[in-house]
Symmetry: C2
Subunit: 382 residues, 2 copies
């Protein structure tokens, strides 16, 4: 398969590009490298030092003999994108190339507008590009479980059968996203769905949970291939923040009561899910939605597990509850279906002590790269 | 009440501004005048000649002694908007200032991207402006019945109670919009809903049906106050196109089988609905949705009614079915609730022979302003 990984320099995109390349696909990376610039803007850095994209793909070629072509440019630049699609003639496009931090989108008006315009226009350009240049190409788009919010009924995979006043229909699942970023993904989903209906495009929307872990078999091959890991308040997840806090002896900062429950997935399963979606493409005209996570945890659960594993490594971690900077329910019903990818063959790697231990050891090893001033929340939802 | 009407130079905005002014509210118009520029771009013109905005408000002052202040600028210009909000300190903002043509949004990639960026960013700027400058101001936003699409169950007003696997929740009604424009309104609805939940803003989303008619008591007072009426394929509605075609002796062009059913509302009821929404504002934190239409018709029904009334005026009209340039169901279930505005006091003006006769006489009177080359569909959905 000829696959373009848009956003292939990022936390999910880079290991995905290598995984697909290792499995024998012909892979190109399209990335504007703006994620690296956001580190400059925010004064943050990845826990693991990461090499330049060009070094990364050169090392990959050296170690495996496999070539990953790179195109440095932005999806919001339609002329650039058109050129890449004409050149590559992909059979699949994996689209990670979005601003993916909820706090970043909530910094202020400008960051909200940037996030929505960047994500919506990039995806629209990709949809038009596929329609005009490679109409049979399968679009694999990363959505988020956060599109659904926390409804008081079970979350289904994209659609729900509604019976109402004696009639019924299978309709898009109602969306209640919780940030300007999550909203941008909801907008994308509606746009892609329309293009499948109107133009017959084939798309899979992967509503991914929170991704944890850092390395895959491929990124672990050499330090030049190392994946990024964000621990700061803006781009880091709660789990990554807890790991960093435990490593430098700070209390684990739980937002509010910690009952917020979400779906989670390990990075090694993320790359496998993308492969499964590509191997079993959506049909022409089909807008297929999978919920891409393997387990659900509350923030409080995660903090408790990190405390327990930290103790086995001689790290004495405590938990501090902070006023919640976000607007979200801290106690709520949460049950989400996630069987479609299992049915395609996913065998989940669950969160265990070994993985938490590995992450904590990494954080201790690179502790001097953790910036304590960047861990506490400064971005407020209200 | 101090009210800003954004888009107050347009087809719905202008009569709304005058109606609110006539009812004693202190009204300002914010408009970029870009709708006039789109006529230049497309080579089209309003059936009724319209005066410049500045002439319009000057004539209104002359006739009534009432001042309507004007601010010419764009909602996507946050600095401009901030200045207007600081100056006006509105208690209500009515937001019509969007690109509102489905065919315009479907011309090509650039028009799709323009429509979504223009509408989404304008609304985001307004939400941030209200939050920061006038947090108690009531936002009255124009949505569209087209956000819902044509589901196989009854359409409710914004929300639907869903019972699922033994639990239930009141959730946003699922959206299946049919063009890049309709999608932009769905994006707006999700964004506004979030800002009500997160920031406690008060908003009413008016999912308006297709508006017909042209004059109100106020716009009919003087030719300088005349409202615009679009008959071209891009900005005209099916009914307006039929009226123009009958007036110049061309067949009435029905897209496809003509079973497409939609909600309709007369312009005199539009202005009254806005007034009712302002008089009975949403509460802080409330995202209220009203379906703003009074009757539903199929396209085929409308064509038949125009043919019948045209005959009484000595116009011999025929119907021609064209291949449908849009992607839409031509036979479908359609039943939409619309009781909230009635409950607030709306007394609907229904479509009757008298109004159709008035429109046909206007079209005959201004027949030389109808451009026959602009009536047939050139914008294709596929």
């Amino acid at each position: 398969m000829r696959v373009i990984v848009c956003g292939g320099d990022g936390f999910c995109g880079w290991p995905t590009a290598l995984h697909l390349s290792a499995r024998g696909h012909d892979v190109a990376i399209l990335d504007s490298l703006i994620r690296r610039q956001w580190d400059n803007e925010l004064g943050t850095q990845s826990l693991l030092p990461i090499a330049a994209l060009q070094e990364r793909v050169e090392k990959w070629r050296e170690l495996t003999g496999r070539t990953v072509r790179t195109y440095v440019g932005d999806l919001t630049d339609a002329a650039f994108l058109t050129g890449v699609l004409c050149q590559e003639q992909p059979t699949g496009v994996v689209h990670f190339a979005e601003q993916r931090s909820a706090p970043y989108s909530m910094i202020d008006r400008q960051h909200a507008v940037f996030t929505q315009v960047n994500n919506v226009v990039g995806t629209l350009n990709l949809l038009y590009g596929i329609k005009e240049i490679v109409p049979n190409c399968h679009l694999v788009k990363l959505g988020t479980m956060g599109e659904y919010g926390t409804p008081n009924i079970d979350i289904e995979e994209g659609y729900i059968e509604i019976r109402h006043k004696g009639r019924s229909d299978l309709l898009p699942y109602p969306k209640q996203p919780g940030s300007m970023y999550h909203l941008s993904k909801v907008h994308d989903s509606h746009n892609i769905h329309f293009c499948c209906r109107a133009w017959g495009l084939a798309a899979t929307d992967l509503n991914q949970g929170v991704v944890y872990g850092v390395q895959t078999a491929e990124t672990a091959m050499d330090p030049v291939l190392f994946n990024r890991l964000d621990t700061d308040e803006v781009f880091g997840t709660a789990l990554n923040r807890f790991i960093a806090e435990a490593a430098i002896g700070q209390p684990l900062t739980v937002y509010g009561r910690g009952g917020q429950t979400r779906g989670f997935i390990q990075i090694v399963d993320t790359v496998r899910c993308i492969e499964l979606a590509l191997d079993h493409p959506a049909k022409a005209g089909e807008f297929r939605v999978f919920n891409q996570f393997t387990e659900q945890f509350s923030v409080g659960d995660l903090a408790a597990r990190v405390v327990a594993v930290a103790a086995t490594l001689g790290l004495s971690a405590t938990i501090a509850h902070l006023p919640n900077p976000r607007v979200e329910r801290e106690e709520h019903y949460y049950k989400a279906t996630h069987t479609a990818l299992i049915d395609l063959g996913l065998r989940p790697h669950l969160l265990d002590e070994a993985l938490l231990g590995d992450l904590l050891r990494l954080a201790v090893r690179f502790a001097e790269r953790i910036l304590p001033g960047k861990l506490l929340p400064t971005v407020k939802w209200r």
